[in-house]
Symmetry: C2
Subunit: 417 residues, 2 copies
């Protein structure tokens, strides 16, 4: 048996125990983790300096170095993130359905953790803290694999969280750190112990994961988001929103990649939008130059298409989009309701920027990722996406034969919860 | 493009339209389907007689012939099933979360259909009606593939449902019938159009489906269900429940395959349980003869194991069970709570038969199947398992730059729903 498989077995056992932890214990552990991060900050910053120096010498570019940096500001972000997580309701043990099937035969649907979750994330080391603490609060065990650039910072953050949580009585083995691609590939085969894989990263990487495991995968491969400027759009809002959706942060999945504009605005609003984008340094690709509408720029580039109707916009999005996040700019409510119902995406937005589609902005505290799947969690995924449920049925000697014979009949009384 | 792919494209388009249907339209269509089934009953019975005659000449055995039969009783079951489905709340368009992110920036989580669902089911033709009407009520399009034995009955049922629903304004292409294994295999490759596959059938068949598609699969490969008789069990209840769980219907996934008995009952209750099982014609395999605890008999056979503690029972179930349905017989409430929390299965039961784990008995009207996955729906799956959700965010010119700069702050006010 490999060392990894052994860890997975221990982690699975730990997950049966973390599933039973009450909210008070989990919050006390989160508070210990928070305090340990603060009291060990010099150790974190030192490890991060080593990562930054190595990455800089390896030629990592500015925006990526910025994401890699873990300083006082990032520390303050993650510790206040932990505090807000502590203030959220325990997602485990919530009764979601209660039906009296018959006298003394009571059915409950109760939330429970998923089990053991493998998360592979990009270069931001603050993601490690967010993901680990979301898993702790939701009673899951976790295998973490961060970006190679952040390896020193991740190791130190992992050790701090592990030690602080173990001291607070969280079962040993609930948290694990993977350090190589080989370990990630080996994890994909451990379907007996790992219940869910959440991959974050490039399209190619996520596709690789999806094709090489029978473990359920939650996440998204790409984010080809659209903003449709309808004929009833308000000019000021349209310009402001398109610029924000494209340029507020270009390298993220919820940035707009394609702007669809109603043809009635071709000579009026469209030139103003294009000017505003060009002022921000965006290269505009008009439809005759676009060869691949599936393309995700993640840069100061945008595709623009003129459409004859809201239906043409919807068809384009449902065909070329990735089901991630798509906005409409209009002052016509019927139009927006029609668009928001027919566009088949995790988030559909009226008169605001696609950049809002995010777990923190949606008020979930943090997110483990954004899902474009329609099963389980869709859109930004917070605590609720990290729990499953089970049915608990309490009887008193009940057998099915009595109901099959017609001697007894089900009452099926739905109870308020 | 293959004929099947063409059908899938049409079905996907139809699903965008069925997603918008209101409950009144869907219920009117269900009522048309119900009346059409009744008025065409002779046609159905005739087709079923042909299937029965052919299957009998091919040597199909008694219990399978019984499942294949579609007579007045089955017709009455499916038509009253449709009536109860009509009485259920529309699962689509339900608001599950409402948060005010900021002034004039309102977030809603709203349920929506999954899209196009492929269901492969066994020889019972009444399953076709149940699945088709569950999909109609939940606004999904569907590809149906039934057992070869029932091919004539399925074709007639499909035509009746198709024609009655089209006449009631349900978009053409929402329902499709597949007639060969080749078509099923081809469907597994249509991930651009099919959103979910629900396979029902043998372990080997379900495994085959899971390994040969990147489309999400919901269902269960096997049902190795356990009944644990605890040291604090009531004798009468224990005997009655074990007999029912094993023998009330042996060929189904929620029948008990392994009985675990606390060692303190070895010379008292255990012999009585074994006698009662043998009286019903059950062959008992005591632990020293059992070579594979994963084995699903689906017959008048049972494995029996003596355990020293509730923890040994739980460990056995979490290791060898299939996460389907597991019961405990005890009069000790702490003991049952502990068992029901730690056993990692879709349904955990106290003092009642594992045979209760079923969509109809749970009060869901009907089921499309039972899921042992922890993602999305778990346990018996009714209407709620056939919907996803999307986030709808209503703004008024909001951009993320204002929040990133600190000029504006999120309010995140959770609203009652």
């Amino acid at each position: 048996m490999s060392e990894l498989e052994n860890k997975a077995i221990i982690s699975k056992q730990a997950s049966f125990a973390t599933a039973l932890l009450d909210d008070k214990t989990k919050n006390a552990a989160l508070e210990s983790v928070r305090l340990a991060l603060i009291s060990n900050k010099e150790r974190i910053f030192e490890a991060n300096s080593a990562d930054l120096a190595r990455s800089e010498s390896e030629g990592l570019d500015g925006p990526l170095l910025k994401r890699l940096r873990f300083d006082e500001n990032k520390l303050s972000d993650v510790t206040s993130g932990i505090q807000s997580l502590m203030s959220l309701e325990d997602p485990v043990g919530k009764i979601k359905l209660h039906t009296t099937l018959d006298d003394d035969l009571e059915l409950f649907r109760v939330t429970c953790p998923i089990g053991v979750i493998g998360v592979i994330f990009e270069s931001r080391p603050d993601a490690l803290v967010q993901i680990a603490t979301l898993c702790l609060k939701s009673g899951n065990a976790v295998f973490l694999k961060g970006g190679r650039e952040a390896s020193e910072t991740n190791r130190v953050l992992y050790e701090i969280i592990r030690d602080a949580s173990y001291s607070s009585g969280i079962p040993e083995g609930w948290i694990n750190l993977l350090t190589s691609r080989d370990e990630v590939n080996a994890m994909l085969g451990l379907s007996d112990y790992i219940d869910l894989i959440i991959p974050r990263g490039s399209n190619a990487f996520v596709q690789h994961i999806m094709k090489n495991t029978t473990i359920p995968v939650m996440g998204h491969a790409d984010g080809v988001c659209h903003t449709y400027v309808d004929e009833f759009a308000d000019e000021t809002k349209a310009i402001k929103i398109v610029v924000d959706a494209k340029t507020q942060y270009v390298s993220v999945c919820n940035a707009t990649e394609t702007v669809l504009v109603h043809e009635s605005l071709k000579d009026t609003l469209l030139p103003k939008i294009l000017n505003a984008l060009e002022d921000k340094g965006v290269t505009v690709h008009m439809e005759d130059e676009v060869t691949d509408w599936h393309h995700e720029y993640l840069d100061y580039e945008v595709s623009v298409k003129i459409v004859r109707s809201v239906d043409e916009a919807i068809d384009h999005i449902n065909r070329y989009g990735s089901g991630h996040t798509d906005a409409i700019i209009t002052e016509n409510f019927d139009r927006s309701e029609y668009y928001m119902s027919k566009v088949d995406s995790g988030s559909v937005l009226l008169n605001c920027s696609t950049r809002f589609a995010d777990g923190f902005r949606y008020g979930f505290g943090a997110e483990v990722g954004i899902s474009t799947s329609k099963l389980h969690a869709r859109g930004p995924v917070g605590l609720e996406g990290l729990v499953s449920y089970k049915y608990k049925l309490y009887g008193n000697g009940h057998i099915v034969a009595d109901y099959a014979s017609g001697e007894k009949k089900f009452k099926h009384i739905r109870r308020d919860i």
